[in-house]
C-alpha cells in the first residue's frame, strides 16, 4: 500500500498544470481517489462535504449486485450441466467454477471497453473521470444472455457509453440508464443473439440436450401458453435467463442493502412492484388466454422484473427526482412492463422497454409534480392574504 501511495505522490508533480503529462491528470486523479482518501480540500467558496460521495454510493450499488452476480455464476453452471443431464455427477464447486469462467470474460470486456471510452472522453474534455461506469459496467454483464459473443458486448457497451451518456455530457447528465441502452442496442441490432431458446444456456460442449430439457425462459414458454413452471425455482433463480436476473432471492438481498444504506429509492422499488402486481391482477380479471391467467405474483419473480425494479428503475440519474414523481414513475414502469410482456409476443421481456420509456418521461413527470406544487402553494398564499 505504501509503495502505491509513494508512486502516486511521486508522479503527482508530473501531472500538475503546465507539466508534460498534464493531459493525464484526471486519470491520475481517478485512480488515486479510488485507492485513497483525497487530502486536498477546495480552496474557494463554501463547500459542504459528506462522506457519502459518488464513489461510496457507487461502491454500495456494486456491492448490492454481488449476490445476484454470484448466484448468476452458479446458475450458468447449473443450467449448463442441467442441459447435459449431468447435474447429479457435479459438485456445487464445479457448477460455480464453470459459471465463473463463463461470466468473468463478459465482465472484463464490459469494463475495459466502457472505462476505456470513459477515460478517453475525460482526457479530451478535461473532465474528471467519473465513477458512474463502475455500476454500469457490472450491470451490463448481468442483463446479457450468457451466450452473447464478447465482441457484441464490447460494441454495445461502447454504444451505450457514447450515445447513452457522453453525448449528453457524461455521468449524471444521461437521459436513459446506460446499461439498458446497451441491452436495447443488442436487442434490436442482433435479435438472434438476444432472444429465442438457444441463447440462455451456455452451449459449449453440448451436443445432445437431455430429454425434455428446454432452454426457453419461463416467459417465452408463457407466450406459447405454457405457464407451468416451478415458482420456487423461479424465486431461487434456477431458471434460464440473463446472467444476473434469474434469482429473485439474490436480488432481494441486494434490495435490502440498497434500502438500508439509503442509496436506492424504496419508493421506486415498491411502486414498481405495486404497478406490476396491479397490472397482473387487471390481466387476470380480463384473461382470454393462459398467459393472462398467470397469477400476478408469479410475474414478479420471472424474467427481469425484479432485477429491473431494484437495480435499473432506481438509477438516481434517469429516474424521477421528486417524491410524488417517483411513485408515479415506478408505478408506470411496473404497469408497462407487464403489459408489454403479456400482450406483445414480439417482446417477451417488457422490463427493459418499460424502464427506457419511463426514463424518457421522468423529466416530464417531475415538471408537472413541481408545477402542481407551486400552484397549490400559490393558492394557499392567496387565501391567507
Amino acid at each position: 500500500m505504501k509503495a502505491i501511495r509513494n508512486f502516486f505522490e511521486n508522479t503527482k508533480p508530473h501531472v500538475q498544470k503546465g507539466s508534460k503529462f498534464h493531459w493525464l491528470h484526471s486519470t491520475h486523479d481517478a485512480f488515486f481517489t479510488l485507492l485513497f482518501v483525497q487530502k486536498d480540500t477546495s480552496k474557494s467558496g463554501t463547500h459542504i462535504h459528506d462522506y457519502t460521495d459518488l464513489k461510496r454510493t457507487m461502491g454500495i450499488v456494486v456491492l448490492s449486485v454481488v449476490p445476484a452476480l454470484l448466484f448468476g455464476m452458479y446458475n450458468v453452471g447449473y443450467q449448463h450441466f442441467g442441459a447435459l443431464g449431468q447435474l447429479a455427477d457435479t459438485t456445487f464447486f464445479q457448477l460455480f467454477l464453470f459459471g465463473f469462467l463463463k461470466v468473468l470474460p463478459v465482465i472484463i470486456v464490459s469494463y475495459v471497453s466502457g472505462l476505456g471510452i470513459e477515460f478517453i472522453f475525460a482526457q479530451l474534455r478535461g473532465h474528471e473521470v467519473n465513477e458512474g461506469f463502475l455500476v454500469s459496467g457490472i450491470l451490463i454483464p448481468l442483463i446479457m444472455p450468457i451466450n452473447t459473443p464478447l465482441w457484441m458486448i464490447a460494441v454495445a457497451t461502447a454504444f451505450a457509453v457514447v450515445f447513452g451518456k457522453e453525448v449528453f455530457g457524461g455521468t449524471g447528465m444521461n437521459i436513459w440508464n446506460p446499461a439498458l441502452v446497451a441491452r436495447a442496442f443488442l436487442f434490436f441490432a442482433y435479435p438472434a443473439q438476444m432472444s429465442g431458446d438457444s441463447v440462455w444456456i451456455s452451449a459449449s460442449g453440448i451436443e445432445k440436450m437431455a430429454d425434455g430439457f428446454t432452454g426457453a425462459t419461463p416467459m417465452a414458454e408463457a407466450v406459447l401458453g405454457n405457464i407451468e413452471f416451478s415458482a420456487w425455482d423461479a424465486f431461487i433463480g434456477l431458471i434460464p435467463g440473463s446472467i444476473g436476473e434469474t434469482s429473485a432471492l439474490a436480488i432481494l438481498i441486494g434490495a435490502l442493502i440498497l434500502i438500508v444504506t439509503g442509496v436506492g429509492s424504496w419508493r421506486i422499488m415498491l411502486s414498481t412492484i405495486v404497478g406490476g402486481a396491479f397490472m397482473g391482477v387487471l390481466l387476470n380479471l380480463f384473461a382470454v388466454n393462459t398467459y393472462m391467467e398467470l397469477e400476478f405474483w408469479k410475474h414478479l419473480i420471472i424474467g427481469g422484473f425484479a432485477f429491473g425494479a431494484i437495480f435499473m428503475a432506481t438509477d438516481p440519474v434517469s429516474a424521477a427526482q421528486t417524491v410524488r414523481g417517483k411513485w408515479i414513475y415506478g408505478f408506470l414502469v411496473g404497469v408497462l412492463a407487464i403489459l408489454i410482456r403479456v400482450l406483445n409476443p414480439a417482446f417477451p421481456e417488457g422490463m427493459m422497454l418499460a424502464i427506457l420509456l419511463m426514463n424518457t418521461f421522468a423529466p416530464l413527470i417531475d415538471h408537472y409534480v413541481i408545477q402542481g406544487n407551486i400552484k397549490r402553494r400559490l393558492k394557499r398564499a392567496q387565501v391567507n392574504a
Binding site: 459473443p149 465482441w151 457484441m152 450515445f163 453525448v167 442496442f185 434490436f188 441490432a189 442482433y190 435479435p191 438472434a192 443473439q193
Partner: protein, 216 residues
C-alpha cells in the same frame, strides 16, 4: 464587356463548395432530414436519390431564376411548386424507365422530392434574387452537399447493416455465425433511428473540426 465576371470566379466556386461543408443543407441547415433517413438503408438508392435531387434542384433554380422578374410576388410559391413538380415528374419517369428496381425501392420518396425543404429553401433564398448561372451552381452545390451526406450514411448503413456495398458482398459468408463464424449483421443499422444517429455523428465530427458552427 470587359468587367464581365468569369464563369468560374471565386465567388461562383464558393457557391459550389460552401454547401459541402460550412453551409451543408443537412448537417448545418438541418433541412431534408426526412428523406435522408428514409432512403439511406442502402448505398444504391442513396446515390440515385442524390442524383435526382441534383437534377431537380439545379434546373429548378435555373428556371426560377430566369422567371424571377416575371413572377408576381404574391403567387411565387405556387409558381415554384409547379416548376419543381414538373421536374420531379420528369425525374420519376426517367427513373422508372431506366432503373426500375431502384425506383421501386425509393417508392414515394421520389415524389416527395417536391416537399424537400432544401429545394424550396434554395429557390426562395437564392434563385429569386440571382442570375441563372450562379443559381445553377448554387443548386448543384447544395444538392451535392445533400448527396455527400446521403452517400456517407448509406455507405455505413449498408456495410454494417447488410454486409454489402452497392449490392456486392463485402463481408465473407464464412464470417457469419450461422456458418460457424463470429460475425452478425447489425439489424439496428437498417432501421431509421440508426440513420439519425449516423447523421448525428457526422454533425458531431463536423462541428468539432469547425468550431464556428457550434451554436450556443
Amino acid at each position: 464587356m470587359s468587367d464581365r465576371e468569369p464563369l468560374f470566379s471565386k465567388k461562383n466556386l464558393n457557391l459550389l463548395s460552401d454547401p459541402m461543408d460550412n453551409s451543408n443543407p443537412i448537417t448545418v441547415q438541418v433541412l431534408g432530414i426526412c428523406s435522408a433517413l428514409a432512403v439511406t438503408a442502402q448505398l444504391k438508392p442513396s446515390v440515385v436519390m442524390s442524383i435526382s435531387v441534383m437534377a431537380v434542384l439545379g434546373f429548378a433554380n435555373v428556371i426560377i431564376s430566369l422567371l424571377r422578374n416575371g413572377i408576381p410576388n404574391r403567387i411565387r410559391i405556387i409558381v415554384q411548386l409547379v416548376v419543381i413538380a414538373a421536374l420531379v415528374i420528369l425525374v420519376d419517369q426517367v427513373l422508372k424507365a431506366f432503373v426500375y428496381d431502384v425506383s421501386r425501392q425509393l417508392s414515394v420518396f421520389v415524389g416527395l422530392i417536391i416537399t424537400n425543404c432544401i429545394i424550396m429553401g434554395r429557390l426562395e433564398a437564392f434563385a429569386l434574387g440571382n442570375k441563372p448561372w450562379p443559381a445553377f451552381l448554387d443548386g448543384v452545390g447544395n444538392a451535392a452537399g445533400y448527396g455527400v451526406i446521403l452517400i456517407i450514411v448509406g455507405f455505413f448503413r449498408e456495410l454494417l447493416g447488410a454486409g454489402t456495398l452497392y449490392g456486392y458482398k463485402i463481408i465473407p459468408d464464412s464470417w457469419y455465425i450461422v456458418n460457424g463464424g463470429f460475425y452478425e449483421n447489425n439489424g439496428l443499422m437498417v432501421l431509421s433511428p440508426m440513420a439519425l444517429v449516423a447523421v448525428g455523428i457526422i454533425i458531431w465530427v463536423q462541428r468539432s473540426r469547425n468550431r464556428q458552427l457550434i451554436e450556443d
